[in-house]
Symmetry: C2
Subunit: 336 residues, 2 copies
DNA sequence: AGAATTTACTGAACCGGGTAAGTTGTGGTG
DNA sequence: CACCACAACTTACCCGGTTCAGTAAATTCT
């Protein structure tokens, strides 16, 4: 079961290896007739260039890397990452780049993986998610000169490309909407406080609330359902409990809905709920959740495009993707 | 920013390339003193062997492939695949194998990807999910002699390793449990009917019901929330509606719960719900769902181990992983 | 002590593509 | 007709590891 090489094609076509290489890569140096003959033979015997050999002589491994740094139990139900991966894939497979994945436990291990992948020339670039304050990954990427695109800013990344969405605008829209409905006590259950986009959201939430003369209560959480439930309970046992809660992801919002139901509170009558990121999960539950919708797959595709441009040596700066917009559903209404 | 090679190490250590290779790979042929000197230098300059060069001369690409063939919108919220991926990773990264991922639209494209990956020597083996009747992927894998492990049987795969769980036993347990609670009209919303494990479950469900003198109603669905809702509505508008429904995955079960609530039926009072696969999703909703629990990550790790054994040339047969067991929660009770 | 074996290396071929440099052969031009 | 330009190749080396055959020195055996 020997897999065919260009030498096999060359022998059958009666030309040299070099000619075959030129022919298959669309390089000048062979006549059109010869090129077609060679291409036909390659087709016929099912030739695929050995990616290792290619990577060894050329430069590109035609693969990009993605590390997922969240506990395994949350990875499973967070629609976010899979949506992102689908988006990457759409762009990468169109340019026949492979996606190499690794699940890691800590940012330190993530850095190790980047070093190894780059050292092994396994990948041409990486997609970095969950940008943090003073993120330890950024200096390493700069030192290695490893092409990268960072999702989850904006933050300080030097020359490394970034892509982010205008979370501030979205959260302002959500707060204004709730206020228009008549809510005055609006709380928020946030994602991991160490992440930069969480901080951006918190700042925007605080600013919007104070400009409207409202108190801004944010309970930090970690995107998991358990923590989302806990945070919701803490908010709802308060005598002066909020009439609306904005959650930083859909999983926590669903968990919050269950807590409200368990406590005998009607949604949306006693409590309005807004989820950030509108996965099918939001429409699955009853009542369906009002959500801040954005096209996650398109976000991922955008990031992949930027990364490929950066790998091609093009200058890429900071790009803002589309803003999330409010999709009102059954979980929001004027407070009783 | 040139990445170091064994030639760099050889020069600094004053030995030949070959000696460095022996030293770093633990091969005999160098003295212990020299080996330690070489390893120290490699450490110091941060050497990583170029995986392309290694793959070119050796044989192994030290990577395995996984294709995901489900529509993007369902991939996002199905905890199943991410759980599986976490499991693979645990095993693969321990043996420093990379995981290469591709999202595809159809089994035909899946086959194309296998051919290309194998032709390019990008991977050493693949993990095949969602085994179907007369699966077109099996003959291709056999023809290519591409090491593989198949998840989702049992089915006819010749010499290709398989791993499956005893779905029949689990579904029997669920039906018996519901009958013991007093249910007599039990329905089931299944996954894609083309998949072999769906058929195995359907058969077991039918057998168990008929042995207990019950009518077995299975509505085929496709694992998505939308279809799960539709199937549930179809079942619940019946005058002789079931008092319990078993769903083939958690996403459809959650959707079914929402439909029941929307129709004013109390869960579990008017309708009991059992989900297959116990992701955190099941505990998130209210009431929390009774589920057929199995350790998906362990299932994935098991599959990865089998695949690596098969890549190492060991004979692997059909392996049965642990049976799912019933985890009773708030969504099941005696019918009113 | 001399032969046989073992140890610790070196040198070179090899994997399968990419590509710069060299070699034909053809046609056009002055 | 000599000369040049250019197309259409071939040749040969490169990438960075692995591995096998060969060699000199050290050790063991008789």
């Amino acid at each position: 079961m020997k897999r065919p090489t260009i030498a096999d094609i060359a022998r059958r076509a009666g030309v040299s290896k070099g000619a075959v290489s030129y022919a298959l890569n669309g390089q000048p140096g062979v006549s059109e007739a010869t090129r077609q003959r060679i291409v036909a033979i390659a087709q016929e015997i099912g030739f695929n260039p050995n990616s290792a050999a290619r990577a060894l002589s050329g430069a590109s491994a035609r693969a990009v890397g993605l590390t997922l740094c969240r506990p395994a139990r949350i990875l499973g139900i967070e629609p976010w990452f899979m949506g992102l991966i689908s988006g990457f894939e759409a762009e990468l497979s169109a340019r026949s780049y492979a996606l190499t994945l690794q699940v890691v436990a800590t940012p330190e291990l993530e850095v190790e993986v980047y070093r190894r992948w780059w050292g092994e020339r396994r990948i041409d670039g990486v997609i970095v998610t969950d940008l943090r304050e003073n993120d330890i990954r950024i200096p390493v990427l700069q030192q290695l000169q490893l092409p990268a695109v960072v999702i989850g800013g904006p933050g300080e990344t030097g020359k490394i490309a970034q892509i982010w969405s205008d979370d501030a605008g979205a959260i302002t829209e959500a707060v204004r909407y709730l206020v228009a409905l008549g809510h005055r006590r609006i709380a928020r259950v946030s994602g991991l406080p160490g992440l930069l986009h969480t901080q951006a959201r918190t700042k925007a939430f605080n600013d919007t609330c104070s400009s409207l003369g409202l108190e801004a209560v944010t309970v930090p959480s970690d995107y998991t359902g358990e923590e989302g439930s806990r945070a919701t309970r803490r908010l709802l046992i308060d005598t002066d409990r909020p009439t609306a809660i904005i959650y930083d992801n859909d999983v926590m919002a669903v968990a919050g809905l269950a807590v409200a139901q368990e406590m005998g509170l009607a949604v949306p009558g006693d409590l309005s709920i807004v989820a950030w990121d509108d996965s099918p999960l939001c429409s699955l539950v009853h009542p369906p959740l009002t959500a801040l919708t954005r096209d996650i797959a398109e976000y991922g595709a955008h990031a992949a495009r930027e990364l490929l441009a950066s790998i091609d040596g093009k200058e890429v700066g900071n790009v803002e993707a589309g803003t999330a917009h409010l999709t009102p559903r059954g979980s929001t209404a004027p407070p009783r």
